[in-house]
């Protein structure tokens, strides 16, 4: 037997040993929840030993896969390769105008045709997914670009929803005038929150914004004369469509298009913002505050614009939410919402618009279609988050910022002229 083959046998043996160890460890870990089943009526314990065997058998091959993936990641080959692949595909699509427009056209036709192709139920789900796309893009301004970790984003969502609901309830104001009002009010609340937290960063900021989100919810829950408390506000009008009397299904389709247009609007605005001067100021502020101040950037104003612009989108979506459900109460605006929106941004890829869209689709649509396994929904949710964070820590789609090439055209032209002159 050659030395090489003994070496490979030894390596294989150690691999198998490690996998065995991992399966034993998992059997031990899951023992209390999987094996012991207490029957409280008969006061007996059922020992389900077969389950232990199944776990061991399932984990054994999985641990090979896991180690293989980790090794691939450590060698850097896979991730770089994937990123390159993604980048190359992105560049190719962007460079080739034909493919780009064709893809865009197909996508446009699909989203426009969506409510007519699928059932009302599917359209409803799509509406909420698109709403989360907007929320994600709005939060992306604050978290992804300006680097301010905001855990109370749902508060602005609530402000938008309640401003439409209350204006509608008391003054009979319709959806269309309420939409900019709700967004404006949310922006004002963004500034209100922004002022006290200007000096804070990172963990401290997260705690304060978390508190802010809870304060808004608790106020709505307890100030009965103002917000009708936990019983909420019912009978909110649906959006007005040239006075037409729409059926429920037609309303859904109409709402779908409202949200679609708002999403398109958001994408355009966020894209413009990101590549604008204020967008770069946000990124710069995220990276180095002192350097920003040394560049004459007004820290206060830049942070406040980030907060208020982020809040504006939440206000928009809040109005749409109130119009969609026609009933709102504080239970819709818990911390869990903030956490989901933040997960959309982080999992999708911070700072990347496509990433946020993909993130929202995955996080909102997946649970809907996983209703069959609704008991395991959170398990799948958690596991997929862990997996993404391990293997793609920058998110599903890594944000590629359009780089600013200042006066490149002129300078190359000048270069050409200079060359010509010297020749």
């Amino acid at each position: 037997m050659t030395a090489q083959s003994t070496l490979s046998i030894r390596r294989a043996a150690s691999e198998i040993g490690r996998s065995l160890l991992v399966s034993c460890w998992f059997m031990f870990l899951t023992f209390p929840i999987m094996v012991i089943k207490v029957n409280p009526l008969e006061r007996t314990i059922d020992w389900q030993w077969m389950r232990l065997v199944w776990i061991g058998l399932a984990v054994f091959p999985l641990s090979f896969v896991w180690r293989w993936l980790m090794r691939r990641k450590e060698h850097g080959g896979s991730q770089d390769g994937e990123d390159n692949w993604q980048k190359r595909l992105g560049e190719k699509i962007r460079a080739d105008g034909k493919i780009y427009t064709a893809l865009l056209a197909i996508l446009a036709v699909f989203v426009v045709a969506f409510p007519f192709m699928f059932s009302s139920y599917q359209t409803q789900i799509m509406i909420s997914a698109l709403m989360y796309v907007m929320l994600g893009l709005g939060l992306n301004i604050v978290v992804g670009l300006a680097g301010l970790l905001d855990l109370g984003y749902v508060a602005f969502y609530a402000v938008g929803a309640y401003s439409y609901a209350l204006l509608n309830h008391h003054f009979g104001l319709g959806f269309w005038p309420a939409l900019p009002l709700g967004a404006g009010l949310a922006a004002v609340f963004g500034i209100l929150l922004g002022f006290p937290v200007l000096r804070l960063r990172g963990d401290y900021l997260a705690i304060v914004t978390l508190g802010f989100g809870e304060i808004i919810r608790l106020v709505l829950e307890n100030w009965n004369t103002f917000s009708f408390g936990p019983s909420g506000i019912a009978g909110i009008s649906r959006p007005w469509f040239f006075g037409a009397d729409l059926s429920l299904g037609q309303h859904t389709v109409f709402l779908y298009f409202i949200v679609l247009i708002l999403v398109a609007f958001t994408i355009v605005v966020v894209n413009r913002l990101r590549n604008s001067r204020i967008g770069r100021a946000w990124i710069a502020l995220r990276e180095d505050e002192v350097a920003c101040q040394a560049m004459g950037i007004d820290k206060t104003r830049t942070k406040l614009t980030a907060f208020s612009l982020g809040a504006t989108w939440a206000g928009f979506v809040g109005c749409v939410f109130a119009a969609k459900t026609t009933f709102i109460n504080p239970a819709s605006f818990t911390f869990m919402e903030s956490a989901i929106i933040l997960s959309i941004v982080v999992l999708g890829g911070m700072g990347s618009i496509i990433g946020v869209i993909v993130g929202a689709m995955v996080l909102i649509l997946l649970p809907e279609y996983l209703r069959a396994f609704s008991e395991y929904r959170m398990l799948v949710f958690g596991a997929s988050m862990v997996l993404i964070m391990v293997f793609r820590p920058q998110g599903i789609i890594v944000g590629v910022r359009q780089h600013y090439r200042f006066g490149r055209k002129e300078s190359t032209e000048e270069q050409g002229e200079r060359d010509a002159a010297s020749a």
């Binding site: 710069a284 004459g296 950037i297």
Partner: protein, 235 residues
């Protein structure tokens, strides 16, 4: 051009500047030398308003600026190149430069200035589309100074531009600082530990020890002064 009178600056309870006064005449290079922790950087931070002074007075072109916010002081033409370079690693070289021109709107002038900077530091022109974080230490320092120049400052505050650079690069940086002063008539306030190099290009110098200015003279006199030779030049 800039007058500092009886300046006291605190970091919380720590008294970092104890009644510091100095003058920066227009068009000159003035250097402030001293050991670690003497308060040199604090003096710069106080001028630029990032660490506002508690007592005392700073006037720039006759206007009191010690109570202004950093962005307003910047808008007047007092620009700081912070210690440790602090360029934006996720922005490209040109984007970094554009951040320096944050308050300007004349695109043509900005393009011209970028061209001027690329003539000053050809290395930056080669790396214009590279991320700031991928530059070497020397290139980052060049970028930091250039970024400061992008706002066409009247007074440039440089905080230890030689920090952590190879001697050849230090020579290059200092030669460029001299050139900037000569060509643009930019007043330069240079805070340095490398006293030898700083005094060679400066017109005037101040020596600082634990928050107090202990010596002040022309740079040539300071270079020859026994005290400075012993304490800072290691001769």
């Amino acid at each position: 051009m800039l007058k500092v009178k009886n300046l006291h600056t605190y970091y919380g309870g720590i008294h970092a500047l104890k009644s510091v006064s100095f003058d920066l005449p227009e068009g000159e290079i003035v250097t402030l030398i001293g050991a670690n922790g003497a308060g040199k950087s604090t003096a710069l931070m106080s001028i630029s308003g990032i660490v506002p002074p508690r007592y005392g007075e700073i006037t720039f072109l006759g206007r009191p600026i010690h109570q202004m916010s950093p962005d307003r002081i910047f808008a007047l033409g007092v620009v700081q190149v912070p210690e440790g370079r602090r360029i934006f690693p996720q922005l490209t070289v040109t984007e970094n430069l554009d951040m320096g021109a944050y308050l300007r709107n004349d695109r043509k002038g900005i393009t011209q200035d970028i061209d001027y900077i690329f003539s000053l530091f050809p290395r930056l022109a080669e790396r214009r589309h590279q991320m700031g974080g991928t530059l070497s230490g020397g290139e980052q320092q060049m970028l930091a100074i250039s970024r400061g120049l992008m706002s066409r400052p009247k007074l440039l505050l440089l905080d230890e531009p030689s920090l952590g650079l190879a001697p050849v690069l230090v020579q290059l940086i200092f030669a460029t600082i001299e050139k900037i002063n000569r060509e643009n008539k930019t007043t330069i306030f240079l805070v340095e530990q490398n006293a030898n190099m700083a005094l060679r290009i400066a017109h005037r110098g101040y020596v600082m020890e634990s928050g107090v200015i202990t010596l002040q003279d022309t740079a040539a006199n300071l270079l020859n002064s026994e005290k400075v030779k012993q304490a800072y030049l290691g001769l």
